[in-house]
């Protein structure tokens, strides 16, 4: 981290605790001044540039490449092809581990999706490499592309998402439906979406013998090390990754992608440092996406509006060569009480890249369908959507019957509804207009996301000068890990945050675990917390065992660490500074370590989720169909909030993504060629400022004694869930028209 100097946090009134303080991002100044070094900003001496040549067909073979033309182009150094590449120690199609997705590393001339890498041109300049790649002018043997979710032959995968069962149930849904007084059966379609992180996948690879130095954005450096180690037949510790900042990942940088590995291969082939940066359009294929779905919801309710059955079936697609099935139906497991719930998934294979985790995988997609169906059911029962949801409030997790570790959803409903003014909502649609004659509609959705935890380690040092050091190979994707984890470190070390040096973002530090599943603050944070506690305990041992110390004989349990001092719990006046303890012991510093993992006992006893309620106001032009979301209010409960400013940002970002899901995002695919026709941010629409005039996030107090010792749940993904459905429901409430295809576009509102 030598080249990246993090700003000290501004002075705040902290009342002894950093956790809970709305500190601004410690990397903020670096970022807005351009000082933050992202992977592609690195230029080691002797650097060459690699550019991918990618396929323009979705299925078939590369019959010919004009290698001579590419090689002859001035500046081109090498062209890496299936026939000319460094040997790998492992077949990239081998399923080497649970998250080892099959990669396209030029293993043969097959093309399995558009934008697949078919060659890599390495040159002295990026321009020469780009032109070299264009000169390859591939010829193909084309096979017809299979692009239609509804045309392909389907099957039933055993597992979906990260490996959860594809079908689950409790009770008898058919019986529940038969007994119902009111039934809703509806089908919802969602579109293929691409992560589109601002920063494209990039890598700068430098080989030194069998050692490898990489600058590359990663949401999971240890996993990347393991995967690369396997592919190249070198020990993982030979691979040094620097990933101090990511310009967003959203799941697409969780596993090392094919193009990143190709950058490493290219460096090996030429024996010089190589940089490879994906072009925007090249991100539409080899680095994952959210697959399209068709979801069928079957809801039954009795005459009083109590659900009798929830059936949620999802048809979705994986690639022709690997398995990732968007686990959309899982959204129905935990939200609404019902004596019968059945969820299932059906898969097809399309000639696309393999889909992948994309912010709130499953929950985002499933929630838009579930929340729409719930809204339809509330309407069918003649009930207010909030009343209906409260009527079906789940006191225990419906699918498992487990109690919740904590659940402040009722408070989310209350506080969100009050802030939004929900009580004055007319029940019937198409009842509200603004002064300009626009149709106005109000809708709501429930948000939920599981509170997960992975494994991580951290190392803490207290130094003789009274400062502390916390080291963990954690990942800041922009979410604020540099700040939030430093806050936990400060409290763990009993120091002011300005006294703590926080090192992170490189693979030679203790493994901070993957930044995904909204679990990074909990996972890395608990490791940091543990390391802090460990080093304090060691320090206390030193002091309490030393008769020259005022703490002599106090015993570990009787000591508190605060403000750089240890003092007796029973008499805080008696104590001394860390520096004094170390000084007297003649130590330059003292080290401790910590680790974190989910507690299996608590996990089997409790259902763990964050919750929220989102309220949306939309305006729709009655003649022209253009939609605008004029207000979003979300209230979320996610356990302990480490940094309310950053958490609010996560909720905002999630809610805006929900808007994007409901109204904008869609990969437009040419059915004939399999190419994505809007593979750029000009045409692949995401919200702009004018699309979000008002977003509010309410942080609802929640204490959770079971998820982990600090009570941290995740906040990174939940904002999408609930929001997308709330907007769809608001569109219905404005227009009286139920659109079940997402994104909702204006042509569906005007015919």
């Amino acid at each position: 981290m030598s080249e990246n100097t993090l700003a000290q946090a501004p002075v705040h009134l902290r009342q002894g605790s950093s956790i809970g303080q709305p500190l601004t991002r410690r990397d903020g100044v670096l970022k807005v001044t351009g000082g933050a070094v992202y992977a592609a900003d690195n230029h080691p001496p002797g650097l060459l540039h690699a550019v991918l040549a990618v396929s323009t067909i979705a299925r078939g073979r590369v019959a010919a490449l004009d290698l001579a033309a590419a090689r002859a182009h001035p500046g081109v150094v090498e062209v890496m092809t299936p026939g000319h590449k460094p040997a790998l120690a492992q077949d990239p199609d081998e399923k080497a581990g649970p998250f080892a997705f099959r990669l396209d590393l030029l293993q043969d001339d097959r093309v399995r999706y558009a934008n697949q890498s078919i060659a890599v041109v390495i040159a002295e300049t990026i321009e020469a490499a780009t032109e070299g790649a264009a000169l390859l002018a591939p010829r193909y043997e084309v096979e017809p592309a299979r692009m239609d979710l509804h045309d392909a032959e389907s099957f039933f995968p055993a597992v979906v998402g990260a490996g959860t069962p594809a079908a689950e149930h409790h009770g008898d849904v058919d019986a529940g439906m038969a007994a119902a007084a009111v039934r809703v059966e509806a089908t919802y379609d969602t579109s293929a979406q691409y992560h589109n992180a601002m920063e494209p996948h990039a890598i700068v690879a430098v080989w030194d013998g069998d050692k490898l130095r990489l600058d590359t954005p990663s949401q999971g450096m240890a996993m990347a090390q393991a995967r690369i180690a396997g592919l190249f037949g070198i020990p993982p510790e030979n691979i040094h990754i620097r990933s101090p900042f990511l310009g967003g990942g959203f799941g697409s940088k969780g596993m090392i992608s094919g193009p990143q590995v190709l950058g490493i291969m290219a460096a090996k082939l030429v024996g010089r440092p190589v940089k490879l940066v994906l072009r925007r359009e090249q991100m539409y294929g080899p680095v994952g996406h959210r697959a399209p779905t068709r979801q069928t919801l079957r809801l039954g309710a009795d005459a009083g509006g109590a659900l009798t059955a929830i059936g949620h079936h999802t048809k979705t697609a994986s690639s022709s060569f690997d398995d990732f099935f968007e686990p959309a139906s899982g959204a129905s497991h935990s939200l609404y009480a019902s004596p019968a719930i059945a969820t299932s998934h059906e898969g097809v294979r399309l000639d696309t890249g393999t889909p992948l985790f994309m912010r709130a995988p499953g929950e985002a997609t499933g929630s838009i369908a579930l929340e729409s169906a719930i809204d339809e059911m509330a309407d069918a029962c003649g009930m207010d959507p909030l009343t209906f949801r409260l009527k079906n409030y789940a006191e225990v997790e419906p699918i498992s019957g487990k109690p919740f570790s904590s659940k402040a959803l009722r408070q989310c409903y209350e506080q969100g509804a009050a802030r939004f003014g929900w009580a004055s909502r007319p029940l019937a649609p198409r009842m509200m207009r603004d002064a300009a004659g626009m149709l106005v509609g109000w809708g709501m959705g429930t948000a939920t996301f599981p509170a997960l935890m992975f494994q991580a380690k951290a190392r803490a040092t207290l130094r003789r000068d009274g400062t502390g050091l916390m080291e963990i190979g954690a990942h800041d994707m922009g979410q604020g890990a540099w700040t939030a984890l430093a806050q936990i470190a400060a409290d763990g070390l009993g120091l002011d945050i300005d006294q703590v040096e926080f090192r992170s973002g490189t693979s030679d530090l203790p493994d901070g675990g993957i930044a995904g599943g909204s679990a990074h603050t909990a996972t890395a944070g608990m490791a940091v917390h543990g390391a802090g506690a460990d080093v304090i305990a060691r320090l206390a041992e030193l002091a309490t065992g030393d008769e020259r110390s005022p703490l002599f004989g106090a015993g570990n349990a009787g000591v508190v660490a605060r403000g750089g001092r240890l003092s007796r719990r029973d008499d805080e006046a008696r104590g001394e500074s860390y520096a004094d303890i170390l000084d007297r012991a003649g130590l330059a510093g003292i080290e401790g370590s910590g680790g974190s993992a989910a507690n299996p006992v608590a996990q089997s006893a409790y259902a763990m989720h964050a919750h929220g309620a989102v309220f949306a106001e939309v305006k729709v032009d009655p003649d022209l169909g253009q939609i605008r979301v004029t207000r979003l209010v979300g209230a979320f409960a996610a356990g302990t909030i480490i940094n309310p400013r950053m958490v609010r940002s996560q909720y905002y970002g999630g809610m805006i993504w929900g808007l994007s899901f409901a109204l904008l995002e869609k990969a437009v695919t040419d059915r004939r060629s399999g190419r994505i026709m809007n593979a750029d941010l000009g045409e692949y629409h995401v919200p702009v400022n004018a699309d979000v005039p008002s977003v509010e996030a309410i942080l609802v107090e929640e204490r959770d004694a079971h998820v982990n010792a600090l009570g941290i749940k995740g906040v990174g993904e939940i904002g999408i869930t609930g929001t997308a459905g709330a907007i769809a429901n608001a569109v219905w409430h404005a227009t009286g028209r139920r659109v079940r295809q997402f994104p909702i576009t204006l042509d569906r509102l005007i015919d």
Binding site: T130, E131, D621, R675, H685, V688, A690
Partner: protein, 346 residues
């Protein structure tokens, strides 16, 4: 990127001479051309950078009440010129509804006229496109063509012209002043862009090497200033090309329409002046019935070129709304969301 010459001429004749060579292209701000070069869609062998040519950056208010706009005037500078916005508010509104603030600050008015279609198949060099490669075919036919043309298209090309600025320019009889090897000439904007017909690769009346010097808006057209609007329906609130747009100007006299100006954007390969609709409005009272009739007249020849039938009815409704807004009067201040149905201040 391929190799190309870069020339920065200092006089107009020098520029014209340099750009008359085959494969040469003018470069203004490059917000369109450079993108196309990066994608391999445009591969000029010579760039003639006119960005610093003297004398092309002025906004001149003419004695007849008209305005002469140098080809290098930035989109934003024109939109925020108070005198201009007062006389031609719908043009200013159209400018401010296009692209983003950053792009408008850079983009020139000459470049705006000559921006290329956003047809995805034109931009995808692996697709067949008659415009890029005459005779290659048109992959937009039978492809993803929800936003393609409903007027004036041919079997050979169904693309649309993306400019917002050009729509009110067509409505308000703008003139394009150009300089070529044989001298200067004026081209009415309405005729400047060509429909695809059999030659979709021919996009404008410009001869090779001809340089746009300026645009003129005649003083007579300032008579519509009190009732002139631009309305643009988009798939997001801002920073998106038009699905369909319309410019409308009315000159009212004694409660009746004395004269009307009407053009559509996003429906054809050129800004679509709706002269029949204008004629239908003359003498009518400015009410919904008259507007609806005009809209019918404007779209009479429309037919879908793919999955885009919705654009025909949408275009009618946009015309009706634009006329309604124009009749209500030009707002005193530029709306916070220019040209949006959600315009505040509309």
């Amino acid at each position: 990127m391929n190799r190309f010459d870069y020339i920065r001429p200092t006089t107009i004749p020098e520029a014209v001479a340099a750009a008359s060579a085959p494969g040469a292209a003018y470069l203004a701000a490059g917000t369109n051309l450079v993108d196309l070069m990066k994608g391999g869609i445009a591969r000029p062998s010579r760039l003639v950078d006119v960005g610093r040519l003297p004398g092309l950056s002025a906004i001149e208010h003419l004695p007849d009440g008209g305005v002469r706009i140098g080809a290098l005037v930035r989109n934003a500078d024109l939109a925020y010129d108070p005198g201009f916005a007062r006389r031609f508010p719908a043009v200013a509104e159209a400018l401010l509804s296009g692209a983003s603030a950053q792009l408008r600050n850079a983009a020139t008015v000459g470049g705006n006229l000559l921006q290329r279609t956003r047809c995805a198949y034109f931009h995808d060099v692996a697709s067949a496109c008659n415009k890029r490669e005459p005779g290659a075919g048109c992959d937009a036919r039978g492809g993803e063509n929800r936003l393609h043309a409903v007027l004036g298209w041919s079997e050979g090309c169904i693309a649309t012209h993306p400019s917002d600025f050009c729509v009110p320019l067509a409505a308000f009889n703008a003139i394009v002043e150009v300089a070529g090897a044989t001298g200067h000439r004026d081209i009415p904007l309405e005729e400047f862009h060509l429909l695809p017909g059999e030659t979709p690769e021919r996009e404008t009346l410009l001869a090779p090497g001809e340089l746009i010097l300026a645009l003129r808006l005649p003083g007579t057209e300032a008579a519509f200033a009190a009732h002139a609007r631009y309305l643009k329906v988009r798939e997001r609130t801002s920073y998106a090309f038009a699905v369909v747009s319309a410019a409308a100007g009315l000159r009212l006299d004694g409660g009746r329409i004395a004269e009307a100006r009407l053009a559509l954007g996003g429906v054809a390969l050129k800004p679509w002046r709706a002269r029949a609709a204008e004629a239908a409005l003359v003498g009518a009272t400015p009410d919904e019935a008259a507007f609806r009739l005009a809209a019918e007249a404007a779209l009479e020849a429309a037919r879908p070129s793919g999955d885009n039938a919705f654009k025909i009815e949408l275009a009618r409704r946009i015309l009706v709304r634009a006329l309604t807004l124009a009749a209500a009067g030009t707002p005193a201040r530029m709306p916070a969301l220019p040209a949006s149905p959600f315009a505040i201040g509309a």
